[in-house]
Symmetry: D2
Subunit: 302 residues, 4 copies
């Protein structure tokens, strides 16, 4: 069983922690695969049954982790390749028929940069539901998509989870895609990784507080989560800094509480959040509207 004191939202890190905690041999009820998509590394963790769920502390389902570090290095064609990689992995999880409608929600608080990845990704998502209905002569071939930057609890007074359920109840989409910030235990994964899963999401588990789960059980339709680790907690940082300095081998849990109220992020967090939100938004658009190119989206979103 995973060491519960060590917090991570990434299935791939949970599997690693299981091994570090002394787990020998194969993880029970879990399979892992590696692949390369558009030049980026893809790790897939499948939790097959209850035993696997207990071992990793996560619900049964598929977790796909894309490593997009090349984006920050501005590698050649990195934007298009990253958006197409997100689109391909997302399509595989969505399993949509033509014409089925989708609700895309960007969770998180706009006023906290590392928590703004969801709302910014929603900003880059093409909302087409009204066009399909009102201008069918031009948009009949588009999939109906509604997009909601839902997480603005601070400025609306309404919980993200409440708002999404209210809207999903009314518009009855075939699938929900929920984009949110996550917490990672590794500085190197922060703002460099995207996890897609078909198990839904608990809004705010990364930066804020959990309240309302969004999943098949609560919304009645499959919920595909797109998560980006954008923060690491201060206690983990302190332990990492000491380890790098060769001075200590403290467990972060020994420090738990000392750095509460602090955010530790990469210095270029705003740029990285902007990059990843755009890649995810474009990836969603390419997955949902497969006839469009990136340049088409450039114009439709301008």
């Amino acid at each position: 069983m995973v060491d519960q004191r060590r917090r991570t939202d990434l299935a791939v890190e949970a599997a690693q922690l299981w091994r570090e905690s002394g787990g020998a041999g194969a993880l029970p009820g879990v399979t892992q695969e590696e692949a390369v998509r558009e030049g980026f590394q893809v790790e897939t963790v499948r939790i097959l049954n209850q035993r696997g769920a207990e071992a990793l502390g996560k619900p049964e389902g598929n977790y796909v982790t894309l490593s997009l570090a090349g984006l920050a290095r501005r590698e050649k064609d990195a934007f298009g390749r990253a958006a197409r990689a997100v689109a391909a992995e997302l399509s595989a999880l969505l399993k949509l028929e033509p014409g089925e409608s989708v609700l895309v929600v960007g969770l998180g608080n706009r006023a906290i940069t590392p928590d703004d990845i969801g709302p910014r990704a929603a900003d880059h998502t093409l909302a087409t539901r009204h066009l399909v209905e009102q201008v069918p002569e031009h948009f009949a071939s588009f999939r109906p998509v509604a997009a909601l930057a839902a997480g603005v609890l601070g400025s609306t007074g309404v919980e993200s989870g409440e708002l999404v359920r209210a809207v999903a109840d009314r518009i009855s989409p075939a699938r929900v895609v929920a984009v949110d910030a996550l917490a990672s235990r590794s500085l190197s994964r922060v703002c460099a990784t995207v996890q897609l899963s078909d198990t839904g999401i608990v809004p705010g588990s990364g930066v804020g507080n959990a309240r309302f789960a969004l999943n098949q059980e609560t919304l009645g339709v499959p919920v595909i989560a797109v998560g980006v680790p954008t923060v690491v907690d201060a206690a983990t940082l302190a332990a990492d800094v000491l380890a790098q300095a060769g001075r200590d081998n403290l467990d972060p849990d020994a420090l738990r509480g000392a750095g509460d109220g602090l955010l530790v992020t990469p210095r270029d967090i705003d740029q990285r959040v902007a990059d990843l939100a755009k890649v995810i938004g474009y990836g969603i658009n390419l997955a949902l509207q497969p006839d469009l190119t990136i340049e088409d989206i450039d114009l439709l979103l301008s």
Copy 2:
């Protein structure tokens, strides 16, 4: 009966049109009063029965029009006086008990300046509902308020009316306050007037297209509308320009259709919309949280 071809969202203009159309004597089923509040002119039209409703082409209820022209002239203390005047008139229509909750919705499209008055007013509204629940030690004395910039059809794919109904259904407020842009037939009233009424609203009747009415019938609670005329139509403008030039006395309806697709606004529309949205937001805050001063709100909204 009002000349239906001449379009106005303001009850006070509808009454004037009735007279211009040859209505003699008193308007049947309608009363009108004038007063001064904080130095601004207040005109109240009360539609008392079905006869009045037919004469003015508007539902029964109270329509209060504040003339805030002094704001654009930057008169001394104009901001505080205007916000307090809005607050006083709004309170009289809201008839709230302490602790009753309110949903404030800003209707309109953020991407069209004259239609952005509602969303911007919502931005200036203090959302307190989550604080009252989560931090009662500091916020128990606040009225629970949820605030929603609802009208972003173009970027969400969901109709404003749909979104507001979905949220109102879930959070069950005691009242809804809906801020929206209106159309006026008079250039002098554009961006210089606020109409408050207790009859609800049809989103987008000013700039876009009507779809979902928001009123007691559809939401189950009283809906107080706060409307600001921000546009005048091109045909009305053409007739007005000609009349000023002394060249013609055309009826705007003769020109209907010729200027479709055009917006006619004051040159300083962005500044005026910014001013009025702030006055309305602060007025709503003063009406809903009567213990706060303008400086308190300055800090809470920063």
Copy 3:
């Protein structure tokens, strides 16, 4: 000689007015050509000498007008084609050697939508000057470009022209590219046309007031102007509306003054300004950094 009462910032309209005013035969000292670039119509007016300058009321030089109406119709590939067309025409006027530096300035007032085209285009321009100096290992192959959204007189208290001269004096670019809003006399050209010229610009001649010319004489280097007509004056509108209605054949000048203080714009002005600003920004990037693709720019600007 052109009828000076009829105002236009477009050379192609000035030539048309010369003909409407009874000019027979060829315009003296002026040549005109038509071509197609990336599927868009290109009209080039060359004012060859002082006689041509007097006839059209504009300085000697080259004026290239691109008709981008297809953009608003969301034609296939319209974004990329339009950006490449702007880039090609701009390159021909810039006549740059590799490594020569450029200052791009976006003129206009951010708080007035039709006047925000320049600042928004500057937002879409890649500023590379600091990178070329500070990170030569990655950016040595980039042209040094500085980008300035200069026109915020209202929020800075400094005239655009003053600010641009101050910056140009200090950084000594080889060329200046200045993007600004223009006025057109034709509703059909508004927000559908881009004029490029090598004669410099008078900031604010479109929407605000002229103050400081930006040209070879004042800045000491060639100034390429990129102008977009985004407004039409109210008097022109009134005359056009009447003509369409078949009711009158008034000259706009007869109405001059009656509609002062009003802006007449397309209803979807915000979308059109956003589209064109993005096309111009990307066009500038493609012209200045010819090794980049649109997807590269997507990432570098995210």
Copy 4:
């Protein structure tokens, strides 16, 4: 002499470090006073001569530190009191005659939240220079103020220091006020303190890299710096976290380098930066335009 390895931009912390480093008795060439202004603590450090400058590692002059912690606690009237306290201390340093003009510059990178305090404060500053010149009938009694959010190196390609010098050369103000982010060694001072000094500033010493000093020597007029500590470095954090956990007494310098590339900020950094920027902007307005009230500024800035 101050331990140079320990970095702080605050004179009051430098004095404290001198004592911690074993400095006995009075600091040579330095005086310190405490006072209370509008309910907030004010500590003034005066560096009187070269000996004091060497002891604290800062230029001769006056350093006034306001502790505004009450702001984050939303104390009654905190906004108005804080703005007036900033105004009073700033006025004392500015020593302005009526009518003398001022250039206010907000340094820092808009795209990094803790570095955006300067640009945001400039956004809240009333720019009046153009109004005094163009509309003297209304604005003759206003002091001419130009306001510049100068620090957008990443988006302009021009160094803040270069840009400010270019503009100051051209408009020749009597004083420059420069707002910038600082680094502190104390978590408790971060986003809770404002330092005003009459010694000028080195842009980016807090978050980015120093390049161009702004002071009397480089600009030819007195430069009043308004600095807000918004970050603490990761090594200091690690040492602090360990000390709080009772596990170590490491000197941060032993860890130097291990946490490079990370930002450590309060979790509510965006809200705190927004609060302080507004307080500073309003404080500057009250200092420069003493006839205005906060409500007047509310309207003029809307």
